[in-house]
């Protein structure tokens, strides 16, 4: 079959909501887009462990510490499922990890922000996981089968993460004056970076149209961002915190909040490596990889010896 006929068939299948599976024909650009997107997502899970692990030894009660450790463990697990989903597209995890370490592959910029107080652990769950869920719920319906199925599993755990984060912030908001201040300060610092997680504005997002056509994405960046704002502003009000946007106003006609402009210079700066913790996060991942090399080699050598003995 000719390339354009295959392409046409592919589009018909996507339009008919039939999932694309690993062995099916797919346009090269579809495969590449998915590899990039799924691996970025996997890297984000893994790098995302770091800002939260930063507070593990300082968690203020045994219960909080257990919940946080369980949450970070889930993230490592999500990283694994996502690397596996990417591997169905004909790449291997090793390659993808090396792309992360060389700086060629990206991860979510939000993890380049520091967790400075315990309230930040709440804010990461509430806002960062809350923003991620908007995207991930959409992705449970993405056209690529393995990605969509990985997302169904991940979403179940993410909603627990978001709730525990909100619960931390809510507990602080009704605590002592210092605790409330800590909660408000965390919201002030994490609000705008969380909005940036949805990516550039639709009028400045060149890949969106193709991704929507192939049903990799089903909502635009601005649509998802708006859903997030509508939901989160109400949650903040419920616990007596103020969203740090003086232009935030309910728009009766649109049925959504209008909000102030995002600082896009900051957004591009952090992507380019100038965020507060870009270097630290990459160093931590590289060190883990380098220091773990002899461990992985030992495991391989031992397995080979065992296999040789068995043969």
């Amino acid at each position: 079959m000719e390339e354009n006929q295959l392409l046409e068939k592919f589009q018909e299948k996507v339009d008919a909501e039939i999932k694309v599976e690993p062995k099916d024909w797919m346009p090269e650009k579809y495969r590449k887009t998915l590899i990039r997107q799924i691996s970025q997502h996997a890297h984000s899970e893994v790098v995302g462990m770091l800002p939260e692990a930063n507070w593990l030894t300082r968690a203020p009660s045994l219960r909080r510490k257990m919940i946080l450790l369980a949450k970070i463990q889930d993230e490592a697990g999500h990283g694994l499922y996502l690397y596996s989903a990417a591997e169905t597209l004909g790449v291997d995890r090793q390659e993808l990890v090396e792309e992360l370490l060389s700086g060629k592959a990206k991860y979510s910029s939000i993890f380049n922000y520091p967790t400075l107080t315990w309230a930040d652990i709440g804010a990461v769950g509430w806002l960062v996981d809350g923003a991620a869920i908007m995207n991930q719920v959409m992705l449970t319906r993405t056209s690529y089968g393995p990605y969509s199925r990985a997302m169904v599993r991940i979403c179940k755990e993410e909603s627990f993460h978001q709730r525990q984060g909100f619960e931390i912030v809510a507990t602080l908001a009704k605590g002592t004056p210092e605790q409330k201040e800590m909660a408000q300060d965390a919201l002030n610092r994490w609000w705008w970076p969380s909005l940036m997680m949805f990516g550039p504005r639709d009028d400045n997002s060149p890949n969106t149209a193709q991704s929507m056509k192939w049903k990799i994405k089903r909502k635009t960046n601005d649509e998802l961002r708006e859903e997030f704002i509508d939901r989160t502003v109400q949650q903040a009000e419920a616990i007596g915190l103020t969203v740090p946007d003086k232009d935030l106003k309910w728009n009766e006609e649109r049925g959504h909040y209008d909000h102030g402009e995002i600082n896009w210079d900051e957004f591009y700066n952090v992507i380019q490596g100038n965020g507060p913790c870009n270097q630290e996060r990459m160093k931590a991942r590289r060190d883990a990889y380098d220091n773990g090399r002899w461990v992985r080699e030992a495991a391989k050598a031992y397995a080979a010896k065992r296999a040789a003995k068995a043969a």
């Binding site: 893994v46 462990m49 030894t57 203020p60 009660s61 970070i72 463990q73 931590a284 220091n291 080699e297």
Partner: protein
Amino acid sequence: MNLNEAKLQFVTSQGDDALILSHRVTEWCGHGPELEEDIALSNIGLDLLGQAQSLLNYAGELEGKGRNADDMAYKRIEREFKNLLLVEQPNGNYADTIAKHFFYDVYHYFLLLDLKNSSDEFLRGFAEKSIKEVAYHLRHTSQWVIRFGDGTEESHEKIQTAINQIWKYTGEMFMKDEISDFLEKEGVIPNIDALKAKWEGKVREVLNESTLKYPETTFMAKGGRDGIHSENLGYMLTDMQYLVRTYPDAKWD
């Protein structure tokens, strides 16, 4: 000696072992040699934290001053902690961590196996539940000792060095005093010499399979069980207790 007080000493020391070791485990989080190991270590850390919570709650009950596990973890000072020196040792490289856990896991496993028959009802139930978790911990660390010992030259050398270095902290697990004698007589804990023999047997078996040498050194450090720790513990507690001490009126749930 009062049975309640003796139990309090023992239960606190066991709770502190689990708590302090879990603290070290959390320091690895996000920095493990492989994603699979990050997951395995988190599992172990969660088990240990859960065990610490049960034991320290029980210690609070035995003490009878209305303290719970969080009070025990967050409001005692260094000298009141009774954990082994072994578990507070820094993580070092992955071989150091594995060697530390392996020696503790063997002890922990055989101790719990015997505690299933303790005269103390709480400890019986606790051991019944925890033994499954600890059987996994022991499986995990012995497999790594074997892989390292019989893996590459580099891994062999690293694990042998780690074992030799941490060896002097293993004796404290089997030190006897009047409390342990009394608890043994009361059927609360097993005979320490018998426990030590089982530990040595298992350690020899695993080291043998790993082509590693059983250390000859006989000098053993002690102090942890009496609250005389290494310099490490103070830093760990400073981290752990920072929020609770900075905001004494705050509740964190």
